[in-house]
């Protein structure tokens, strides 16, 4: 479980996050949604420690993460897997080498054991016979899946996904969403997904947090969204004519 308490963050005097409180539960897909520029990516980066918070606290289970030193943060980070918006696969490494990289760095497994784990992770994300291809040689959807395989290689307790569907066609986006959800439940991971894709929200949002103008504006499940009368949330979620008609707005 990850808990965020009273988090504030500003850049050059401009407040980007204001008094954010949230709890992200284990074994569930927790979604952070909001318009571009609302502060959701900053919140995600604060949670993983890529940005320092101005004030407030971030807890991984019962351990306060934000004020740990580099070495102690490192221990927590080895329990984290992250899927980046652009996949962030290492260009100079093959698919196999990318997935094997965390195993190389943090385990004392033999090459055969590592290869077995790599093949298991790749098979889990439905990547077969592509071990020796480079990221430039595979499609966007495959890159995302390889990035997921790399993220789960060390059996993480926490999985973060930043815009996992960006740049993907709707069908592939659904496949990636379902894969993340399955992995979350199968390995009992605390998953946080940062998205503004409404198909993801309605498809896999066990818990949804809506960020608006740097503040937590709304919190609930995907089912609660349909019943919500929160104006800003409805304006964001039901922004197209079709969805507005369905909602009856």
């Amino acid at each position: 479980m990850i808990t965020v308490k009273n988090v504030y963050k500003s850049f050059d005097g401009r407040l980007v996050l204001e008094d954010i409180n949230a709890t992200f539960e284990k074994g569930k897909t927790n979604l952070i949604i909001g318009q571009s520029g609302s502060g959701k990516t900053v919140l995600l980066k604060c949670i993983v420690g890529l940005h320092d918070v101005d004030s407030g606290a971030i807890y991984y289970n019962d351990i306060r993460f934000d004020n740990l030193n580099f070495n102690d943060k490192k221990k927590i980070r080895q329990k984290i897997g992250m899927l980046f918006q652009g996949s962030a696969l290492f260009d100079s490494a093959t698919v196999e080498e990318n997935v094997m990289f965390p195993l190389d760095m943090f385990t004392s497994m033999t090459y055969e054991e590592k290869l077995e784990r790599v093949n298991f992770c790749l098979k889990r994300v439905n990547i077969i016979n592509s071990n020796h291809l480079y990221p430039a040689e595979i499609s966007g959807g495959m890159k995302k899946r390889v990035a997921i395989a790399r993220a789960i290689a060390l059996n993480p307790e926490f999985l973060f996904c930043d815009e996992p569907n960006s740049g993907l066609d709707p069908k592939t986006a659904v496949v990636i969403d379902q894969l993340i959800k399955e992995i979350t439940e199968e390995f009992n991971i605390t998953t946080i997904i940062n998205t503004h894709d409404m198909n993801s929200v309605m498809g896999i949002g066990d818990k949804v947090i809506f960020i608006h103008n740097g503040k937590k504006w709304w919190e609930g499940t995907k089912d609660n969204i349909l019943d919500s009368d929160n104006k800003e949330l409805n304006d964001f979620v039901f922004s197209t004519e079709l969805t507005r008609k369905i909602k009856g707005l």
Binding site: L50, R77, Q78, F84, D104, M105, F106
Partner: protein
Amino acid sequence: MKLLSAIDMFGEYILLLKKVFSKPEKRRVYYQQTIKEIDKLGLQSIGIVTIISVFMGAVITLQTAYNMENPFIPNYLIGLGTRDSMLLEFSSTIIGLILAGKVGSNIASEIGTMKVTEQIDALEIMGINSASFLILPKIIATVLFNPFLTVLSMIVGIVGGWLVGVFTGVVSTQEYIDGVQYAFIPFYITYALIKTVVFAFLITTISAFYGYRVQGGSLEVGRASTQAVVMSSIFILLFNLILTQLLLS
């Protein structure tokens, strides 16, 4: 204001070096990285160093010969002039400047691209000291291998001068060899190698620094690459002056 900005950047550079020279996560992986960097930054520079050195040696020989109008100056001084020019300046400083262009832009653009495509964030999230992992092997590779390139340049340059000298008839083989052996000061090689090691360190760290602080997209990566080459070249010339005064005065 520019002075403050320069001091600020120097501070950032020192902080980056502090991060680079911290304890490696896994020595075996760093060792493998260093071998790869020796291949990429060292072995793949042999071609350009050889071609440039041959032509430099040849031009020095011809220029020395064509500027010796006094019949009382012996021809063997052509060999001596070529040798000392190559040893003292061309094989270390000029090759250093060439490598600042080739290796420096390569390092800055590689690290810059990794920064903008979130590959460096991916390393940090995994709990890896990205600065050390990416930059330390490059420093070790260039500091170890560039002295070989300098010695190669000295040999090839002197041979190039001999070939052109004999081919054009400005000096005989015996005269050239006599000149190369005349009043040889072994410390000149030590001086050149000390300069080479310092230049290798400057090229790698300055270029890595510019790559590491890139923010934005491909335009900024290109700009960082250019800045890296310009600043590396300026610092090579500055340290050439300082080291010459310190070592030869």
